[in-house]
């Protein structure tokens, strides 16, 4: 046999026929190291940290830099994982970096922190009741990381401005609220892609204006809807459906924060990018997260079917039935950058989250409720006054118009009050 040189690393595998030698590439090795990986500088031994501004892992002491991390461009095109039985069953592979988990006894959050960086307070509830527990070795390892782009030092001014904004919040908030420190935390996210092939059937309503004449000879214009059955098929791919992997934080704040993430900036998981930050492990497992993701995707498919059925002329859809077959489902476990902090005001803890990529602030703010009540009362008062005046005046000619005006004002006041109430509730919502 002529000398044959297989590619480096390839090894011979059994062949059923003599005279044929078969070589296979090395089995895909998880690049998770067996032991902890040091983030210490090779040059001076100091700790290295990820620099959000320069987007490199750099040594704070001697300035040595590691190779710059490269963004994947579009996460949808990057390698993902399928829902194999193995993937669903698989446990964690560890973090690859020596880290410890802090467990907060008050809010239940698990935080993975670097050794020596023991937090003095939980960033989510400002509680000091923390205890050290072992890291979850069964956790699935992240596939991608969206690196921080902002430094915590840059946040203070913006957050002060945010606290100061809004008439419904206490005026002393900016002075009294004490935000000690923003903690950069990589939060776990499950990001799903899937293709749906849906067939649907529904009634599509198209509005048209009809002018009718009543018995008094007056004309009225009415909107009439014509309904017709439609069938169709839609084949569409959905990408980047984000489901937070943590249930310990405010889902409302998370929802507002992750909408703005540009996942195109993600880099393949690199322990170095986490250096200098905390990272929270997921507590919403993949199957449960996929339940949520699937629900989002099928709603997207439903919306697409409705849009498809309406076409350019339809106005309404009813009695929609559809069969959607999911395929090419892919999941990615991604760490997203968030600065988290909490402040105490009026003996309550309020959470603040800053998108570590864009700087957008979302958080809870206390509401001065008497101002809300007063404003609602102020909005209702003209209607009430008009009504009170109008009732006795019904004996005179002006009474009825006054009552009509009172009714109109009441409608406006109720709409305004509901809006105000919702805004105030949302500001405190967690």
């Amino acid at each position: 046999m002529k000398t044959y040189n297989p590619p480096p690393g390839w090894s011979e595998v059994p062949s059923r026929l003599p005279g044929i030698a078969i070589y296979a590439p090395p089995p895909q090795k998880d690049d998770v190291p067996d032991g902890p990986v040091s983030t210490k500088c090779k040059n001076c031994g100091s700790s290295m940290a990820f620099d959000p501004v320069r987007q490199v892992v750099a040594c704070g002491a001697c300035g040595t830099e590691q190779e710059k991390v490269k963004a994947v461009g579009a996460l949808a095109g990057a390698e993902g994982n399928e829902f194999t039985l193995e993937a669903l069953r698989r446990g964690a592979k560890g973090w690859g970096v020596e880290r410890k988990t802090l467990h907060c006894g008050q809010c239940g959050s698990d935080l993975v922190v670097e050794p020596g960086a023991l937090a003095t307070s939980c960033p989510f509830c400002a509680s000091n009741q923390v205890e050290l527990v072992a890291g979850d070795k069964d956790a699935v390892r992240p596939g991608y990381v969206l690196p921080f782009k902002l430094k915590s030092a840059d946040l203070e001014k913006n957050v002060k401005g945010w606290l100061d904004k809004g008439w419904m919040h206490p005026g002393s908030l900016k002075q009294v609220a004490r935000i000690d420190k923003f903690v950069g935390v990589y939060l776990p996210y499950w990001i799903f892609d899937a293709r749906t092939r849906a067939s649907y059937e529904c009634e599509v309503g198209t509005d048209r204006q009809v002018t009718r004449r009543d018995s008094d000879g007056r004309t009225h214009t009415e909107t009439v809807t014509d309904w017709e059955w439609k069938k169709g098929n839609i084949d569409r791919a959905w990408t980047g459906v984000k489901i937070p992997g943590t249930t310990k934080l405010s889902q409302v704040l998370l929802g507002r924060t992750h909408e703005k993430f540009d996942t195109g900036g993600c880099v393949p998981y690199d322990a170095g990018v986490l250096a200098g930050f905390q990272a929270q492990s997921y507590d919403l497992a993949l199957p449960e997260a996929w339940e949520k993701g699937r629900a989002s995707i099928r709603e997207l498919a439903k919306g697409a079917c409705e849009q498809h059925a309406k076409g350019s002329r339809g106005d309404h859809v009813r009695n929609l039935t559809m069969n959607a077959s999911m395929d090419d489902e892919v999941w990615r476990y991604v760490m997203m950058p968030v600065y988290v902090s909490a402040y105490k005001f009026d003996n309550r803890t309020w959470q603040v989250m800053v998108n570590g990529q864009t700087g957008e602030i979302n958080g809870q703010k206390p509401v001065v409720w008497w101002r809300i009540y007063a404003l609602i009362a102020l909005m209702l008062s003209p209607a009430v006054c008009s009504g009170v005046l109008g009732i006795p005046l019904t004996f005179f000619a002006v009474g009825v118009p006054l009552l009509v005006i009172a009714l109109v004002l009441l409608v406006f006041a109720i709409v305004g009050s509901v809006y105000l109430w919702k805004s105030a509730t949302a500001a405190e919502a967690a």
Binding site: L17, I20, R298, M326, D327
Partner: protein
């Protein structure tokens, strides 16, 4: 590709070894080895000219293998009768004539032996399952049904091949593919070792593709076998994209003979038409010409009948001048004659159009 055997250089001693006489067809330039007594008979392939003695270029070596005849001439009669069942068939095209004139002919295929020394690349696929769902929206609520989908994970494989391949067939005639298409392929697994007695009284058609020109076909055949062996060696259910890059340091050619019968008939124009049939399966190939003359005769008969009807209608019409009711009978007879006039055109036209189709077919 030109027929190399027309360039006569020397008489091969191989012809004598096979107990045959070298002859050639002056019309189609094909060369044969025939038994004594076959000289002067029509060329079995083109049937247009008589075979005449000539020198031929051939390898001295005897054939290595033959695929034996699986059917006798008599066995083929039913198929030939079916072949000859053409409307207005030429009188000479009968099963009996074809059987009587049929001669057994061996036609050649190169057998190539070579050692393959090279490398291959392929992709192998492993089955795995993924969990998926079918979602149904009915009455405003969603129902999910879990389904498992089969998928294939592909992995690359590479390797080395060093194997000997013997008796890989390669075309020895320029018309190899056309002939296989006409009378069908052969089961080479039925091939047996050549002995002179297996030739019997059959004629032997000589190769017109020299070995060096047959090599690309042989190489493709060997590469195909290597690909099959690689698939077998890998022993995985899914293998795709097998490519082989190899050298063949020691190539050796022998030849194999395939059985067929050749016969002929004379069409209505006096042209001799060849008919070939497979020596194993009896699949027949040839142009089945109809007789236009026969068609014309039938047309004349029907036309005469139509004319008779018309004349009768004329006569009855004349009588109808006196006996008025007979005018109606005359009209009916006259009308009846018209379709027969039209029908009289059909036999010659049918024979002519059939012949056109036959001539145009490959």
């Amino acid at each position: 590709m030109s027929r190399k055997n027309t360039a006569v250089e020397r008489v091969s001693e191989g012809a004598d070894r096979l107990g045959r006489h070298p002859v050639g067809c002056p019309k189609c330039k094909r060369a044969f080895l025939v038994p004594q007594g076959a000289v002067g008979k029509p060329c079995p392939i083109c049937a247009e000219a008589a075979l005449s003695p000539q020198n031929v270029v051939m390898r001295d070596a005897e054939p290595e293998q033959v695929v034996p005849f699986g059917a006798s001439r008599q066995d083929l009669k039913p198929k030939l009768a079916e072949f000859a069942s053409v409307r207005f068939v030429t009188g000479d095209l009968t099963a009996d004539n074809l059987v009587e004139r049929a001669v057994p002919v061996w036609w050649p295929v190169w057998l190539v032996d070579a050692t393959c020394e090279g490398s291959f690349k392929a992709e192998v696929g492993f089955d795995y399952e993924v969990k998926s769902t079918e979602e149904v929206l009915d009455g405003g609520t969603w129902r999910s049904r879990e389904v498992m989908r089969d998928k294939i994970r592909w992995e690359p494989r590479q390797g080395a091949v060093s194997r000997r391949y013997d008796n890989v067939p390669a075309e020895a005639l320029t018309e190899h593919d056309a002939r296989k298409k006409a009378i069908g392929g052969y089961d080479y697994r039925k091939a047996v070792d050549y002995t002179q007695d297996k030739l019997a009284d059959a004629w032997v058609q000589l190769p017109d593709v020299p070995p060096d020109e047959a090599w690309p076909d042989a190489e493709a055949g060997i590469a195909k076998k290597v690909g099959q062996d690689v698939r077998q060696a890998i022993d995985v259910r899914h293998v795709r994209g097998v490519t082989v890059s190899a050298d063949y340091p020691d190539v050796n050619y022998t030849w194999m003979l395939l059985p067929m019968y050749a016969s002929w008939y004379v069409d209505s124009g006096g042209v001799r038409r060849p008919v070939l049939f497979h020596g194993e399966t009896g699949q027949v190939y040839g142009k089945r010409m109809a007789s236009v003359t026969k068609g014309l005769v039938w047309g004349a008969v029907i036309g005469t009948f139509a004319t008779g009807l018309l004349l009768l209608a004329g006569f009855v019409g004349l009588v109808g001048i006196v006996l008025l009711p007979l005018l109606a009978v005359a009209a009916v007879l006259g009308a009846l004659s018209l379709p027969f006039f039209a029908l009289a055109l059909w036999p010659p036209l049918s024979a002519w159009s059939h012949n056109r189709r036959e001539t145009a077919s490959p």
